[in-house]
Every structure is written in C-alpha cells, then in structure tokens.
C-alpha cells in the first residue's frame, strides 16, 4: 500500500545567555566539571530559582520571529522525574501556559512553498551530564540550569526532506536572532521527531513513534527515512505500529525501542510555586519586537528587489546571517549595475570552496575587495572560470591577491591565436575520430575537442577563442 508519513518535530535550543536560567552561575562550557555551580543549580535544600530576564527576552524574540502570539500570562511548571543528572528531582519547564503559541515556518518543497505550523515555544532548564566509567557514574552539573527553548511543530511535515528543510530554516532564523549558536554537535540544538504513517488519502493519524538521539540534521533525515520504512513494513505485513520512544543508532543506521507507551513517565506537571506568574506587557513585547533584526526571509526579499537576483539565489545567500552580510558587501562593492557575475561567483565557485572546507562564505577569510578582483579577472578574460577556482584556493591558503597568484604562477588565459594554433594542431592530429564525427554532422564533437585543448593548456586557454579557432580549422580542412 502507499503510505503518507506524518512528521512533527520538537527542537530544543540552548540559549546563549551569560548566566543560567535561574541562578547567576556562568553558562559556559568546556570548563572543569562542577565548577559553574551554586546552591540553586545544585538543587540544594532551601535554594530557590529566580528567572534570568534575558531568557524571557530571548524567548519573546524567537516567538515573535516565528510569528507566534506571545502570551500575556506565562508561568513555569515542574516536570517531575528521577534521574541522577536532575538535581531537584524535577525540571523547571512550562506546561499549559507557554510563552508563545501558534506560529509558522515557511519551507521550500519540490511542490512549492509549504507552511509548517509551530504549536508552541516554551522555556525550560537543562539537566546535567552523566559520565560513565568502569568504576561507576559521575555527574557534571555545569550544564544543569542552562536555559533552553523548546519549539514544537504541529504534525505538518510529510517527508524527511521537509523535516530537513524545516530544521534548516528554523536554525537560520534562530541564528539571525543571535540567541543560540545552534550547534547540534555541541548539543546546543537537539531534535526529537514524531512520525506515523497512514494510507495515502486517509485523514486520521496513525500510531506514532518518537525518535530520539539524532545529532545532526542529516541524522534526523536518515532516522525518519529508516523509521518510515520500518513502519511501512509492519503495516504491509498486517501488523500494528507500537506507540513508543525509539533511539536512533547512527552506526547501525537503525532505530531501537527505548520505552513503550506503558513505560512512559507520568511527569506530574504542576505550577512551580517558587516562581510566580509572569505578566508580559505589550511594552515588553514591543521592546522584543524592536530587538529583532532583519530575518532571512526579509533579507532575501530585499536582495531580490535591491540587487535584481532570483529567489533561489537570494535564498542561498541569506540562509546564514554572517554569509549574508559578506555576500551583501560583495554585491554592493561590485561596480556594475548587473550583479549577476558576482552573485554567480558567490553561489558557484565560492560556495563550492566553502563547502569543501566545511565553512560558510564568511568563514573563507576573503575580503570582498579581493574577491571582486578575482571576479573581474574572469570577466576580463584574463583567466578562465576554471583557472579562477585554482586561484581562489591559493588566495585563501596564501592570503594573497588574485593578481599576485596569476602573475607568479603564470596562469593568465591564453587568448593569443598564434599561441593556441600549435596546441590545436596537435589535438586535431591526436583525435582523428572526433574530427570525423564532426564532419559527419555531430556538432557536439567540437566540445570534446575544446576540452582537449583546455586540458593540454592546463586550463589556461580561453575556451571561447579555442572554440572559434577550432570551428574555423575544421571548416577549412
């Protein structure tokens, strides 16, 4: 049978506040275990939480950026369970009065733009970290009490790709707000996924499984893909999917049952009596709104109208805040009114280079001026597009200008016909078959021959000139 997957995501984002959510301890990482602790985050008897106001203002910003309605009354609740990394025996979280409700994230799908509804955004504190060794288990409470935002979607996604797109978009918005570094490997962004299947066309939801332990967006996609296959197999075999929590094992590329619905905790949520109701005024909401910078979607729209570039290009260039700032500078400094050459270079060779180095455009440590110099060398046919990629690499590695590299490595493009004639003669002699193909009407054969000339000239030949010369020679003979 053909099934439709229904996917909902719960994302935890660690906020980048200086201090923890309910005490004055520093929220920093990589320090000696149990050094950023105090009676409050240690859960010592008698200690009491006091909300860090920055947590609330970060939460308001995220809520507003996702188009949520901010709740004028919000409160904290206790989520009760026992675990050695949870010093109070409960987590301070939000249950029935979260700070923000009902927003949306727009994603691009092959079928066009799609709206994923955000059900709620709430504040909570993180737990500590357990470390196990042969002698036993140790608890590090540096992370206990660090502020998190939980962002929950409605079950609005239908494919792993849509989930991936949602995560990418959400991350981009949060990075723009500068409230979290969103580093999934460091655990500052975590994602759980709920997925169920139903026969295509059916509107009732099937039984869902909750997937945990994915530590990258790709892992989320892989886990969903695996889980959809697993559930389809069960349904096809006439079986029933069990409601349960499953753990993703990236090494085996499989999900494994962690606990069934029957084993699920009863968290016994109730209002935390140590924290009073928070009344959020319209002024505070206004202040938070004023603190929201231009978001990716708005920036993309502006790039399109200001620079006359396509929606696709604008989307790529604005996905990351720092990259967008870099791109904008480059485009602005580009002297010509037609920005296409620089835009193409940014999303072409430059992005490829950034990807191969595992960083963003802005992480290449290239000044816009130097980049423009490179682009203009290509434009003036001093070097070919192909050679420019080599030059780019060296510019980054050696921190040199394009001009210096082209000169020192003698990489200037050969447009001089007399210099190219010799190479062409050799290529024609060595590729008799292609010459015959061309003559028998296969016009494409000329492109092969151009490629051979380029290769023999170590990429330095001007391909346009070569093509001209080749066509003339083939016609002559």
């Amino acid at each position: 049978m053909e099934y439709e997957a229904v996917i909902g995501l719960e994302v935890h984002v660690q906020l980048n506040t200086n201090t923890k959510a309910f005490c004055a301890c520093r929220a920093e990482f990589g320090v000696e275990p149990n050094t950023n602790i105090c009676p409050v985050c240690l859960g010592l008897p008698g200690a009491l939480p006091v909300l860090n106001k920055v947590v609330l203002s970060h939460a308001l910003k995220v809520g507003l950026a996702l188009g949520c309605s901010i709740q004028n009354r919000t409160k904290f609740d206790r989520k009760n369970y026992f675990y050695p990394d949870l010093p109070k025996g409960y987590q301070i979280s939000q249950f029935d009065l979260p700070v923000a409700l009902a927003g949306e994230v727009r994603i691009d799908t092959p079928a066009g733009e799609k709206c994923v509804r955000v059900k709620r955004v709430h504040m909570e504190e993180d737990a500590g970290k357990l470390m196990h060794d042969a002698e036993g288990s140790l608890v590090d409470l540096n992370r206990a009490g660090v502020p998190l935002l939980e962002i929950v979607t409605e079950p609005d996604m239908n494919t792993p790709d849509e989930a991936y797109a949602y995560l990418t978009k959400l991350k981009s918005v949060i990075e723009y707000l500068d409230v979290s570094d969103c580093d999934m490997e460091k655990g500052s962004l975590r994602c759980d996924a709920n997925v169920s299947l139903r026969p295509k066309g059916e509107s009732r939801l099937g039984t869902k499984a909750e997937l945990k332990n994915m530590n990258s967006f790709k892992a989320v996609k892989d886990a969903l893909l695996y889980e959809i296959g697993r559930q389809a197999e069960i349904l096809d075999g006439g079986g029933k999917v069990a409601q349960e929590t499953r753990l993703w094992d990236a090494r085996q590329a499989k999900t494994f049952s962690m606990r069934s619905k029957e084993e699920a905790h009863d968290y016994r949520y109730f209002p935390d009596p140590d924290l009073t109701l928070f009344l959020i005024t319209d002024e505070e909401i206004g202040e938070a709104r004023a603190g929201i910078p231009e978001l990716p979607q708005q920036k993309a729209a502006r790039f399109m109208s200001e620079f006359g570039i396509s929606a696709y290009d604008a989307g790529i260039l604005t996905a990351d805040k720092r990259d967008a700032a870099f791109a904008e500078e480059c485009i602005k400094v580009f002297p010509s009114g037609d920005k296409k050459p620089v835009v193409n270079y940014l999303i072409g060779p430059l992005l490829a280079e950034a990807n191969s180095r595992g960083c963003g455009l802005s992480g290449l440590k290239l000044s816009p001026e130097r980049l423009l110099e490179l682009v203009s060398l290509v434009q003036k046919n001093v070097i070919s597009n192909l050679v420019s990629k080599t030059v780019l690499k060296e510019m980054i590695d050696r921190q040199a200008t394009a001009d210096e590299i082209v000169k020192s490595r003698n990489l200037a493009q050969i447009s001089d016909t007399s210099a190219l004639d010799g190479i062409i003669t050799r290529v024609l002699a060595e590729n008799v078959k292609s010459v015959q193909d061309f003559r028998s009407g296969k016009e494409n054969a000329v492109m092969f021959l151009v490629g051979q000339v380029m290769r023999m000239s170590a990429g330095k030949a001007n391909p346009k000139v070569v093509q001209e010369l080749l066509k003339r020679r083939l016609a002559d003979a």
Binding site: P39, P45, G46, L48, V50, N80, G89, R268, D274
Partner: protein, 481 residues
Amino acid sequence: MELYSLTGAQLAELLKQGKISAEEILSSLSLRAAGKEDKVKAYVRFGGKLESLPAEGAPARGPLSGIPVSVKDNICTRSCNTECCSRILSGYRPPYDATVISRLKSDGAAIVSTKTNMDEFAFGSSTENSCFGPSRNPWDTQCVPGGSSGGSAAAVASDEAVFALGSDTGGSIRQPASFCGVVGLKPTYGRVSRYGLVAFASSLDQIGPITKDVRDSALLLNSIAGYDPKDSTSVNTPVPDYTACLGQPVKGMRIGVPKEYMVEGIDPQVREALLRSLEEFKRLGAVCSEVSLPHTEFAVPVYYIIATAEASSNLARFDGVRYGFRAADAENISAMYSRTRGEGFGKEAKRRIILGTFALSHGYYDAYYLRALKVRTLIKQDFEKVFGEFDCVVAPTSPTPAFKLGEKMGDPLKMYLSDIYTISANLAGIPAISVPCGFTSGGLPVGMQIMSGHFREETLLKLAYAYEQSAYAGSRRRPEL
C-alpha cells in the same frame, strides 16, 4: 533574675547599658539548657552546651547585638548541620546561610549553633515525627509541645532560648506556641524570605518568630522581614518598625469572631479561654462581632492536597546522589533511589509523599490538585470579604490544649485536625499570631490566634500587645521544670 529568663528586648537594654555581656547571656542559656534538656529535649545534636555561630562581619552594635537566636533544624546555617530532623539529611551541612540567618547576623544576633527539634521536614503537629525522638512540653513533660516547630517553642517556654525561629506551613509556629504558652507569629506569605528554608510546601511556608512576649516577636520580625531578590515569592513592600505600633490604643478596632471556628471538636476550656479574651478586648475598647468564613470546613482537605502535592515534588531532591544519606550497596540506580528513600524518610514523610504524588498523578490532577487550588481561592476570598469590614479575626489557635505523647500517633487524621484553625491563614497567605490566653484546669496553656489582612502584621502585634499588657503584665506564668 537569671539572664536566661529575660526577653530579648530586656537583654538588649541591659547590654546597651553595659551591665551584661553577650558571653554571659550565652553561658546562662547554656547552663539552663544543660540542666533542662534531659526533660525537654528542645534541641537536637545537643552536646551539653550551646554555642553561637561565628558572626562574620557582624556590626559592633546592631539591634540584636549579642542576643542568641535559636533556629529550627530546617533553616540553613553554613557552619552547622541542617538536617530537618530526618535521617535522609544526616550529616548535611549547607554551604550557605538562609537569608533570615544573614539578616540576623548582620543585626548582630548570635545564632545558636545547636538547632531546635521538629517533625521531620515539618510534617506533623507534635514533634513526634523527628528522627531524634520527640521534644516534651515544658508544662507537662508527658505532653507534646506541638509541632512542627515544637523544639523552638519548648526551648523558648523552658527558658533554654531567648527566642527562636520556626517555620509555619499549616500552623507549625502558632500551634506549638499555643501548646507551650509562648507567642508565635506567622508573617504574611512573601514578608520573610524563604531562601534557605528547606521547603515543605513552597506556596504555604513562612519563617517566623517564637518568643516569650509580643515585643520580642516584633523585634525579631524587624530583623528577618523584607524583600529578598533570591526569593521570587518575597514581596518588595516597605518594612515598618514593628515595635513602633506596640502600645498604640486598640479602641474602636473591629474584631471578627468566625462562627465556623467555635463549633464541635473544640475543647470547652479552650472555648472558655477564648470567650474570656474577647471580654478583655471589649474592655480595651475593641468591638467584637460574629463573622462567617463559609469555606472553613474545606481548609483541612484542601491543605492536605496542596501541601502534600508540593511536598512530594520538593522532597524529590533527596535521592542519595549528591548529599545526605545514601543506602549502601544498592545494585543499580533504581534500587539506590528506593532504598535510600525507603530507609531515609520516616513514616509520615512517606505518607505525605505518596498522598501528594497521587494528587498530582495523570487522571487525578483535575479532581484533586486543580480543585483544591480553586477552593483555596474561595478561602482567600472569605478572608478578603471579612477584612473589608473588620481589622482582624480572632479564634482559638488549636481546638485543644497540648495532648499526650503518643495519643494521636496512630491516627493521622486526628493529628491533622489539630491544625484545623491555623491552616486557613496559610492557604490565604495572611499573617497570624498566637498569644497565650489562659490555662486549662490541668495547668496547660491555651493560645488565641489573631489573623489580619496581607502585610498587616502591625494590626496583629498592636492588638496582641494590648491584650498581653492588660491580661498578663508582670505576671507571666512559667512552667516548673
């Protein structure tokens, strides 16, 4: 007159005049305690003498300079153990002082490093639920001193303490004060910081003074009251000088006497003592009328849902992982939890954890906890309505005088009903004071409770002081020990 028998205000005056030294006060108290502890058992971990905590940075002359304050075992003190009279906190020494302790220290008070006895985690009305064994009522050592701040009340009544701090969640300051013939004040919720008070029920707990007379309660409240940025539930409202209102006339004050408090279950001698007190108030020029607090009958059930629900969560941190008692040789984490908690908590603590866990459980929350919150609001509104017309409400503190040790231990419900008159003030968050108002024919003290609107401690103190002066001035009885 021995120094130990004086009030804090009297000692402060003598110190100011240079007639006595702080060391003399402490050694007088220490000798007194050494002589009477065998009978009273007001203190826990008592090693034969009383010492005071080092008062780092204490001023040369503060309002409480050199006056010892005894402290209940659930208020955190950095330099001595705070175990809540529970095995599960055995050996626990907090790394910080409760805000009230810092405030007292900065006013120069000498914090007594031996803590006073209490029901484990303040769960009880008799101090019998202490892992160290019960305290005794100085008026009759066969009787309980009340609870849960029974140790503090017994220490003050037996002159083993000048004054003491207690905590009151459902009557734990007022009921033992009434059983022991001393004054006990539960301030408005939010008046005194709870930071460093080991939580029983966070929305009900308040720290307050237990003293020999009303003036001392005002004196202690002056020191401990005030906004604390470390306690989100403390209220930022000015703290008056609570001694300033003492001696002001009470003529024309309107006193309400709730009819719901004077019904079945009340001991006839308690009832008589209260009626005599009302006559005293009338002589002083106050106007007494009957009022109604119609939701009174729900106070006990509402309290035992809310208080146990909060307690079940507050006590979750006692898991053996980080501090206190841990059961030995558990085979896994789950066994470590259950054995630590099974062996570390006493019977009443377990009873309340189970009750509270049940009340918050999925499927029961709405019927119990949520409904209890709604009725709590109704109880609060009852008081607001009455305080629209009356300055205060006067009632017995407890339906009976002190009962015999062991008398109610087998019947938790009976024990819970001992707090029937005190619980409402905690649910409503209002201040209430218990002052001695007579004795039974058997020689046991009876207490009267005065309640008023939020942050109207001055009304309570003024009225209680006027009563005390007119009924007892110069003739306060002391237990024979």
